[in-house]
């Protein structure tokens, strides 16, 4: 297998080269280690851009496919099957984009066991890319579970005071969902005789039509898959691990956790639940919408009452991902496209929020909102960037968040109308209530921004001074870390067309398939 004819494989496993190099580097050469990891991730990012150039956005199907028989003995039919299509290309790019940024953010934040950190982080990238690229359920499952391991260490070793609790909770919760998925994967594999996702979709639809798999079974499979993904997303009410994990994780971990790992859940719905179980999807859509809507409102309300800024951002993820779920299960082009874009947006905005919070935490060692205040005056650049990111997160038009939220809500409203996926239950109420989330987002985001950056100077400023150094504004490295995200925040906000174009054919294809399934149901 020539790696250069296999860009996806090359991209996914390239970080392993970095891991190998890291393994042989002395652990006290911290900067060498950092640079190695950074360069590795940058090259991976480069490869992903190369992949992008080869990606034909007009093609709705999987592209750059690498497909080899892997385990085909003993009645197994497992393939090494990687491919990228409009549904995943953006997430792949998001992953390769956020990884170097996260590594950059650890430059001074991580001083302990740098080598281990970089190894785990680089390994994590392999897992994440694999999740988004794998087109074989078994392969997917391997990557899916694998991502847990490095993340577990990242939280558990470099996290906050309750890190072990958080790490174990993170691990067990995610695993609790994925084991149900494992059973469903096996069941589906046995029934359809293949684990390949595209083949499965074809085989299963035949089995639904012929009644080999009855609707109830289909629904159970849907639920089993959904269990894994919903915990990861996390959908309300399965979000309880998230605040712990986010609060305790080191900055880079939070960034990746929010930026990419949560997307694995929503992506899972998109890649597996919707295409493989279309009838169950249609039946479940209003219920998902209900949960998503509750999540949006609940997450936003709970965010507002947080006293810990990381927790606030964590709960805001519950709200934001509620939007993503709502959009995807609108099952129309607007909703799904918006959902995908919102995944990217959330990755950028929330990732950036965590980065920024991490930057200030590094100086103050506290995340209590109430001790801050008036920071904008002391750290104008930091404040301004925070403002942009916060606005992006609350969906200000012209910034990326709006494009996603708007299309999602638009799609959701359409889904609530006659013939739409939410019409059987709730109808336009889901979109209407979810739109309240827009107001509530403003409330908690502005609350956070005000309490930290506006108003009179907070006690932390003097507190820090007591330790002999004043609060400083962002340095060049930190600005360099955050600016790429800012560029995308504006780009997607102002000119999202290239992003939508990447996914449009694939989304249309999915919508068409769903419509066909809906027709077949009636």
């Amino acid at each position: 297998m020539n790696f250069f004819s296999e860009p996806l494989t090359l991209m996914t496993f390239f970080p392993l080269v970095g891991v190998l190099v890291l393994l042989f580097l002395p652990s006290d050469k911290k900067n060498v280690l950092r640079w190695t990891a950074l360069v590795t991730s940058l090259i991976t990012f480069g490869i992903s851009l190369w992949v992008l150039t080869m990606f034909r956005s007009a093609n709705p199907d999987l592209q750059l496919v690498a497909k080899y028989d892997w385990i085909t003995v003993a009645g197994w039919n497992i393939q090494y099957h990687m491919g990228v299509d409009g549904l995943s290309i953006l997430l792949v790019l998001l992953t390769t984009f956020l990884t170097p940024i996260s590594i950059l953010s650890t430059w001074t934040a991580v001083e302990e066991r740098v080598k281990d950190f970089m190894i785990f982080f680089t390994l994590l990238e392999v897992g994440m890319l694999g999740v988004f690229l794998a087109q074989d359920l078994f392969l997917f499952y391997i990557f899916w579970e694998f991502t847990l391991v490095p993340m577990y260490f990242l939280i558990g070793i470099w996290g906050g005071p309750r890190r072990i609790y958080a790490a174990i909770k993170f691990f067990l919760y995610t695993m609790a969902g994925s084991i149900l998925m494992l059973l469903a994967i096996l069941f589906v594999g046995i029934q359809a005789g293949t684990f390949s996702v595209p083949d499965l979709a074809a085989n299963l639809s035949g089995m639904y039509a012929s009644g080999l798999i009855d609707p109830k079974t289909q629904m159970m499979l849907f639920v089993a898959f959904a269990a894994a993904f919903a915990i990861k997303v996390p959908m309300w009410p399965l979000h309880s691990w998230l605040p712990d994990a986010h609060v305790e994780a080191p900055t880079a971990g939070s960034v990746i956790l929010a930026g990419v790992l949560l997307k694995m859940g929503t992506y899972g719905f998109l890649r597996f639940n919707i295409p493989l179980f279309p009838n169950a999807t249609i039946a479940a859509a209003p219920w998902i919408a209900l949960l998503a809507t509750i999540g949006i409102i609940y997450g936003a309300a709970v965010s507002y009452a947080q006293s810990d800024v990381k927790k606030l951002v964590a709960y805001s993820s519950v709200s934001h991902l509620g939007f993503v779920m709502l959009g995807m299960f609108a099952l129309n082009a607007q909703g799904i496209s918006g959902g995908i874009l919102q995944m990217v947006n959330h990755g950028l905005s929330t990732g950036a929020l965590f980065l920024l919070v991490g930057m200030i935490y590094e100086q103050t060692h506290t995340r209590e909102i109430k001790v801050y205040g008036g920071l904008w005056k002391i750290t104008p650049v930091f404040g301004s960037i925070m403002l942009i990111v916060a606005l992006s997160s609350m969906g200000l038009p012209g910034l990326n968040g709006f494009v996603g939220e708007f299309t999602i809500l638009l799609g959701a409203w359409g889904a609530g109308m006659d013939g739409g996926s939410f019409a059987p239950m709730g109808g336009v109420w889901w979109a209407g209530l979810s739109a309240l989330g827009v107001i509530m987002a403003a409330i908690y985001i502005l609350f956070m921004f005000q309490r930290m950056f506006l108003g009179p100077q907070g006690e932390i400023v003097d507190e820090v001074k007591k330790h002999g150094h004043a609060l400083r504004d962002l340095n060049w490295r930190e600005i360099l870390t955050i600016v790429p995200i800012l560029i995308f925040i504006f780009w997607i906000g102002l000119y999202p067309a290239p992003f939508f174009n990447l996914m449009a054919p694939a989304v249309d294809k999915m919508v068409a398939a769903l419509q066909a399934a809906a027709m077949a149901m009636h």
């Binding site: 695993m175 084991i179 059973l183 594999g189 046995i190």
Partner: protein, 478 residues
């Protein structure tokens, strides 16, 4: 009179037996300080036998000694596995016994005899052979468990193992008697061919035999000896026992049940189902509260017996059994590989007089010995069933088989208990990586080799499991 073809069927066994007997004599001339020679010779014997066994791979099946033994793909596969276990058992012991002051040549000969018993168990085609093989494998293990005579724990372990082992043997013998009574023969094929006078008598006989095997593989409720014996026995013995005895027990169980009792599947499936479920639940739940790594791994081995048992549940269903049993065999291999690694790490951490065995002693291991900690992490992940390890592939295979057999709830119990297990396995990882401590580690080549190889195999084989799959599936009983 036996023909040469008869000996052909037990060729590896013969070689190893002769070697063991010779070694027994040779050892007398090896000075006390040079016992590594005995170890090397034992390993050489195992290696040679392994070579011979592998040469038999793919050969035709044959029976020998008036149907007493059989040599087929199944036996070759498992014999090879047992021999590898034996080799790893020697490797584990190599430095350990010296460090613990147990270095005596008989250790290795007894180990060889135990391997002989295991191989015999795999090849047995008559209940008499099964019984003898069971004893052949057990008696050396009783002695080995009590090998550390300076430690009362070791003696206690030996006695408990012995008394309970003999007790369970009583059931096996009684079971064989009932089977004989029902069918008039002890030959496995003969039992199948016979028209039993009473199905119920046969069933009960089979059930009593199952008790014996259940004891050997440590299935709940026949498991209670396991933690005590595993904890008390010298760790190198425990490591060997945990894999070898389990493999042998399962092999015999499989051989006996699918050759002789497929007709009893209706009743046995329920019992196996219950045993499997109980074993998974019990093993995992009890493991949670352990603070001693040896006990924890002991319960873990109980739990894994439960998983493997899952594969045997549909043994009588010709549609499902082949896949299912192949999955069980595969899982056995995965378990054995991981198991040796884990015990290897335990040995590396163990100090004399039983110190260094608490899980809390592993604190800080990742900082001081990152490679060892990484290897242990791999083993723990494999035991949970997490990628990228053989454990995941094994579980995947296993659950697939169980599901295709239609045992959805059993599979659910399986996955839920694996979730529970994640907690206690992770605790080891947490301790190694996230707590501060100053652990010291014993480094010796063969020990490093064992856990290193196991770790490597656990990871690498998870990516290229085909060969193992092929072997496991070809090892099916026709």
């Amino acid at each position: 009179m036996p023909q040469s073809s008869d000996f052909q069927t037990i060729l590896p066994l013969t070689i190893l037996t002769v070697w063991a007997c010779v070694l027994l004599l040779v050892d007398l001339f090896i000075p006390k300080t040079q016992k590594w020679i005995t170890a090397t010779l034992a390993a050489a014997g195992l290696a040679v036998t392994l070579g011979v066994t592998l040469a038999q791979l793919g050969g035709p099946a044959s029976t020998g000694f008036s149907g007493m033994v059989v040599q087929d793909g199944f036996s070759t596969f498992l014999n090879a596995l047992q021999l590898v276990c034996g080799l790893l058992g020697v490797a584990l012991a190599f430095g350990y016994v010296k460090r613990m002051g147990l270095e005596r040549g008989e250790y290795y000969t007894l180990l060889l005899f135990s391997v002989i018993g295991m191989m015999l168990m795999v090849q047995a085609a008559d209940l008499i052979m099964v019984f003898l093989a069971l004893e052949m494998l057990s008696i050396p293990l009783y002695v080995l468990a009590a090998f550390n005579r300076t430690q009362s724990a070791s003696e206690e372990s030996g006695l408990k193992y012995f008394l309970l082992g003999a007790f369970s043997t009583g059931f096996v013998v009684y079971g064989i008697a009932l089977v004989f009574g029902a069918t008039g023969t002890t030959n496995l094929a003969g039992i199948l061919a016979s028209a039993p006078t009473s199905g119920l008598l046969l069933t009960i006989g089979a059930a009593l035999i199952l008790v014996g095997f259940g004891f050997k593989v440590a299935a709940v409720p026949f498991h209670m000896w396991t933690p005590d014996v595993y904890q008390g026995a010298p760790t190198s013995v425990t490591g060997f026992m945990a894999a070898g005895a389990k493999i042998a027990g399962f092999a015999a169980l499989l051989r006996v049940f699918s050759t002789a009792f497929p007709a009893l599947a209706v009743d046995m499936t329920d019992i196996l189902w219950a045993l499997s479920a109980l074993t998974m639940i019990g093993g995992n739940l009890l493991a949670i509260s352990q603070s001693d790594i040896k006990r924890m791994l002991a319960y873990s081995s109980i739990a894994h017996a439960g998983y493997i048992l899952m594969a045997f549940v549909p043994y009588g269903n010709p549609d499902v059994a082949p896949v299912s049993i192949a999955a069980g065999l595969f899982y056995l291999v995965a378990y054995a590989v991981t198991n040796f690694g884990a015990w290897g790490v335990v040995i590396a951490m163990e100090k004399s007089e039983g110190r260094g065995l608490a899980i809390s002693d592993y604190a800080g291991l990742a900082k001081k010995h990152p490679v060892l900690a990484a290897a242990m992490t791999v083993f723990m992940l494999s035991l949970i069933g997490f990628p990228p390890t053989l454990g995941l592939v094994g579980k995947f295979y296993l659950f697939r088989a169980v599901l295709s057999g239609g045992f959805v709830w059993l599979a659910v119990i399986g996955v839920v208990t694996s979730l529970i297990s994640a907690y206690y396995y992770l605790r080891v990882v947490v301790t190694m990586y996230m707590h501060e401590g100053e652990p010291t580690v014993e480094r010796e080549f063969w020990l490093d080799f064992t856990w290193g190889l196991s770790a490597l195999a656990t990871v690498v084989l998870s990516f290229i499991p085909q060969a193992l799959f092929v072997m496991a599936s070809s090892a099916l009983l026709k």
